[in-house]
């Protein structure tokens, strides 16, 4: 109990430090790095949210992409205000994920994973074929209002933080307990009168909403989107963030996203070596730290406290 309280204080301090940096820092590159990290953190926490019910949702990539395309269309084609563009990304993800879930959530495990994988790829192919969506080259010139420019990183940080907090609070509630129960043994949950498919649908919709809003933010931060940005690789990388940071709690996913986002940027100048080193980092951390950095840190802490006692 006490260590959980201490953990919350550390998280709050870290968040405050990053926020201060987002407000005060004037280095544009670092600001962008911060925003990319925030987006990736939402993706990782969103993917992990469905792992709570035991499902690997590769559709995370599709819902992220829908949010991005919806946001881009709202801004560039319909001239809607920026907040509405953000909301529209989340709402579209809610609508589509509800339909997708109703059809697919009766499957589970590898079957659901494959269906959601296929869904992400089909949606991506649709972008490439539809002229109105820019086809293969995508949509360019997606800008937030100019007045927001100096505040974009703060806004991104707060919005992504809010989405992550929402998913964290869901996990801590009785709803989160039911999620875990479904992961443990869905038949038991069914026998005490809880509709498993319905709860999984709720889980999918909450995660997709978060990822959809993040997608719309993505479009306005990168200013350019194309179909290739939203392939199955998006959730695959998110899975790597989760596994490297540690999948025991939300902070693991956030830390993993932060480290790998920065690492990817550092390796970018290395040409084809980039992917080799990136993959190597993932394999190495899986071998050395099977329960992620957070799990490794906890073990180290325990080792120290035992040494002292």
């Amino acid at each position: 109990m006490r260590s959980a309280r201490a953990g919350q204080i550390v998280v709050a301090l870290a968040a405050a430090a990053v926020l201060a940096f987002a407000v005060l820092g004037d280095d544009e590159y670092t600001q962008h790095l911060l925003m990319w990290t925030a987006l990736n953190a939402v993706l990782a926490v969103g993917l992990r949210f469905m792992l709570l019910v035991g499902e690997t949702n590769i559709g995370t990539g599709a819902f992220y992409g829908m949010g991005a395309y919806m946001g881009a269309i709202c801004t560039t084609k319909w001239g809607l205000p920026f907040p509405l563009a953000l909301l529209a990304g989340g709402l579209l993800a809610i609508v589509v994920s509800t339909g997708f879930g109703l059809v697919t959530l009766r499957t589970k495990g590898p079957y659901f994973m494959l269906i959601s994988f296929a869904f992400t790829e089909v949606v991506r192919l649709i972008y490439t074929r539809v002229e109105w969506l820019g086809g293969n080259s995508g949509i360019i010139g997606i800008f937030p209002p100019q007045a927001l420019d100096p505040w974009m990183s703060v806004l991104t940080f707060l919005l992504c933080g809010g989405l992550i907090l929402m998913m964290y609070l869901c996990e801590q509630s009785n709803l989160g307990r039911v999620f875990r129960a479904i992961q443990n043994n869905d038949a038991v949950v069914e026998t005490v009168g809880i509709d498993v498919v319905q709860i999984k649908l709720v889980c999918l919709v909450i995660a997709s909403f978060s990822v959809g809003i993040a997608g719309s933010l993505h479009a306005h931060i990168y200013n350019v989107i194309s179909p290739g940005d939203f392939s199955y690789l998006v959730p695959v990388f998110a899975l790597a963030y989760i596994k490297i940071g540690g999948d025991a709690n939300v902070m693991g996913a956030v830390i993993g996203a932060a480290i790998l986002t920065v690492l990817a940027q550092m390796l970018q100048g290395m040409g084809s070596l980039e992917h080799v080193l990136f993959g190597g980092a993932i394999v190495a951390s899986m071998l050395v730290l099977p329960d992620g950095l957070l799990g490794g840190g906890r073990r180290l802490l325990r080792l120290f406290s035992r040494g002292r006692a």
Partner: protein, 241 residues
């Protein structure tokens, strides 16, 4: 005599070419402990899965509390007051005893303080009172069986269906479990349907017993009648040829 709690009318369940349950009819009266026995493969588990909604019956009709529940989902049937356990101990292994029982009470009790009371009361009844913070998967086998009953009973069903609740228990644990099942019936006025291999146990606790063989009802009656029924003896011991 009051109206029966559960009426199964000629239920059948087919898996491809195999008729696992064939034209099986029975009634369960409120307040009784009914036993369902039969040799391996007789269709006991299939019957359980059909009445609890995990399988749809191929033909036949199920009536619970006067309402037709044929074809309803397992969750919907459970919400009407028919809750089952599973043969192989149905647990949420990575969760605490407290959270296991809480999941059982979640749908049945609406407010959080009521749920906490329900969890404590249920845990105490099943001998898990001091273990609320233990992880379910780390409990010894006997307590895991008790916990799987606790999850189901936390919903306070009208009909509690126990699928082999005593399998793998030693004799002390089995006696304790029987005592708990008796208390669930007497103190909480719960009707119980029980499947078990242990004939002695079934004979001791059940008011009435139905015997299944090759998916069909072989006999039905009081333990005394079943014990002396020549068909039952033949099914269990062979006919000496």
């Amino acid at each position: 005599m009051t109206a029966p709690l559960l009426v199964a009318q000629a239920i059948s369940r087919r898996f491809g070419g195999i008729l696992a349950v064939n034209d099986f009819s029975f009634e369960i009266q409120p307040g009784e402990v009914m036993g369902l026995i039969g040799p391996n493969g007789a269709g006991k588990s299939t019957t359980f899965n059909v009445i609890s909604g995990f399988y749809k019956p191929t033909t036949g009709k199920l009536t619970f509390l006067g309402e037709d529940i044929t074809g309803l989902s397992a969750a919907a049937i459970s919400r009407r007051g028919l809750v089952r356990t599973f043969q192989h101990g149905s647990l949420l292994r990575e969760m605490t005893v407290h959270d296991n029982i809480l999941i059982g009470a979640l749908r049945a009790v609406r407010d959080n303080s009521g749920r906490e009371m329900r969890v404590r009361e249920t845990a105490a009844l099943l001998g898990l009172g001091g273990l609320l913070h233990a992880t379910a998967g780390s409990l010894p086998h006997g307590l895991q069986r008790m916990l799987s009953i606790a999850i189901a009973f936390a919903a306070r069903p009208k009909l509690l269906c126990l699928d082999e609740p005593l399998t793998g228990l030693n004799s002390t644990e089995a006696v304790a479990a029987l005592e708990v099942i008796g208390r669930i019936r007497d103190e909480y006025e719960t009707t119980i349907l029980l499947v078990d291999h242990n004939m002695r146990v079934v004979m001791r606790i059940c008011d009435r017993i139905a015997v299944l063989n090759y998916g069909q009802k072989l006999a039905e009656g009081t333990p005394e009648e079943i014990r002396n029924n020549p068909d039952v003896i033949r099914a269990y011991l062979g006919d000496g040829e």
